[in-house]
Symmetry: C2
Amino acid sequence: MSGPTVRDVAEVAQVSLATVDRVLNNRGGVSAKVVERVKAAVVQTGYVRNLAAANLSRRRIYRFCFVVPTGDTGFVALLHAALAQEQHRLREEQVVVQIVPTRPFDVEDQIAALRNLDCDAVAVMVSEAPEINEEIAALLAAGVRVVSLVADLPSSGRDAYVGPDNVMAGRTAAEFMGRFIKDTGNILMIAGSLAARDHSERLLGFQMVMQERYDGCTLLPAAQGADDAARVEQIVMDTARDRPIAGIYAIGAGNRGLVRAVGTLNPKPVTIVHELTQVSREALRTGTFDLVIDQDIRAGVIAAVGVMRDLTDSITPPADAGRIKLNIYSRENIQ
Amino acid sequence: MSGPTVRDVAEVAQVSLATVDRVLNNRGGVSAKVVERVKAAVVQTGYVRNLAAANLSRRRIYRFCFVVPTGDTGFVALLHAALAQEQHRLREEQVVVQIVPTRPFDVEDQIAALRNLDCDAVAVMVSEAPEINEEIAALLAAGVRVVSLVADLPSSGRDAYVGPDNVMAGRTAAEFMGRFIKDTGNILMIAGSLAARDHSERLLGFQMVMQERYDGCTLLPAAQGADDAARVEQIVMDTARDRPIAGIYAIGAGNRGLVRAVGTLNPKPVTIVHELTQVSREALRTGTFDLVIDQDIRAGVIAAVGVMRDLTDSITPPADAGRIKLNIYSRENIQ
DNA sequence: TTGTAGGCGTTATCAA
DNA sequence: TTGATAACGCCTACAA
């Protein structure tokens, strides 16, 4: 059950443990023919190194950072909660994580955060900008592994992306929007910022499906609410003054403002939002929101840590390791 | 940097390593005041156990079985896939699992399977019957921990239930059924067997919400398709001959037959089914099915293994450890 | 009820 | 170039 060990390799190769170790971790100082003998023995025995034992002996501790925006989005709160819930298990696995909050949409602040990092790997949820790419390149050059979280940064050279397929998220929102709306009508789409890749991808997916299959609906120009409750509320009220709204797709945060605004509208528009937070959960329960599309943040944290651990150990993470699922919540299946 | 260890705890508590270990893993055989002293020392030192070291040292291997029906439900295939995906992590945690397939709805076969078990704990997905209860009692008496999977067996004395809230599943199906149906109409509900607890609970939840909020719809008497494709197909065709069908809720399996039948109907009824399998995935993609309510089998496997491990170690599993989430899939978010 | 001693698989420090 | 040998942190017979 417990497979061949270095002892077995040593025995087959007729050398000592130390020599096997030297070859295995190519530290040099071993004659060519002995190297060959050891390598052959590894193949012959089918030896696979036991990472746990290696880390135990090496007293390795994984230091990971999460660079994520703060704000009233509730996202950081959920992230903190998820990390707290995983804290114990993470500690047991020798990983220490630190959250570095940044001001939302503030590139300067994000850069500052990335400069002050001291860790083996970092999961970043930051803007897509050339300066950020440079910063990430510097981190990579310094041997820090970088994972993009929730919003991908494909042009940054990051090691991996952990998050949902945001185009799919937008398409899913559209599918339910189209089916929930009985007739035709105006659809209001509110993003936080179209410069945020997750938001623009969701918007893209949403528009694609609405135009493709539910073209009885009229898509109003996409608004930007900066993930701010007051701004979001204002956008809804302003829009509703000019014309009836049949549906609202809130792509980013600021749902507290959305609840206030939707409460004043009659008839109530079909309202679809992202992230299952205190606010959206309650709004779902009372019928103010009709659907919540949630990326399971706990799963995201677990996936991110797993990927960072693999990367830190120079292991290629499984292809789908970073893909996290979208959960759909109606008033009947809130958890 | 490398944190406190058992030695530190032992020193502070003025006891030996073995005693600390006994307290840490509550194995008993330690006087109350020493227990207190050790616990205080743990708090004082901030000790966190090193899982890698623990697993390395522990030669214990957990042997678990899954007794589940085979058949055209695709469930066993999904279960196998889920286990395969978890294999690596499970092996690292010293657990070996074996799948024992049984013929669906065949109580004799289920009993035979339960008799031939050799393991520390078993997760069973079997019928609710007195003979089964006896068999489970025998297992429990023999020291094998028993967990009911997907369908609960409350009267069997099983140690725990791992599965979804099936009433909630039915309620969720009704919520989407009500919203997807534009007007009013006849709703056909097809269970596998009303003697199966998961099926009857789903039906109950579905009926509750339909009557409560979508009473424009007419619920036809619930049919039983024995999870058999041909039977299910026949039921749909027979029903459609007499009256138009606006919606179909398929509570159990046999979705292959449902696909065939629905394909012949015009207009196509809103069709909501359970379990994301090859068949339902494809039907979702082509528009034959409108919604799939899926119990995440991978999550179920992980939860079941966790609960079985706790039970085997005589630890009371956390209250919500067995509750698994319901995922909702439309054509746009199939994974 | 408590303690001692040895081992899990790998790494690292000495000598030889 | 090589090889003993002692950690790493925890678990567990076996004693006492």
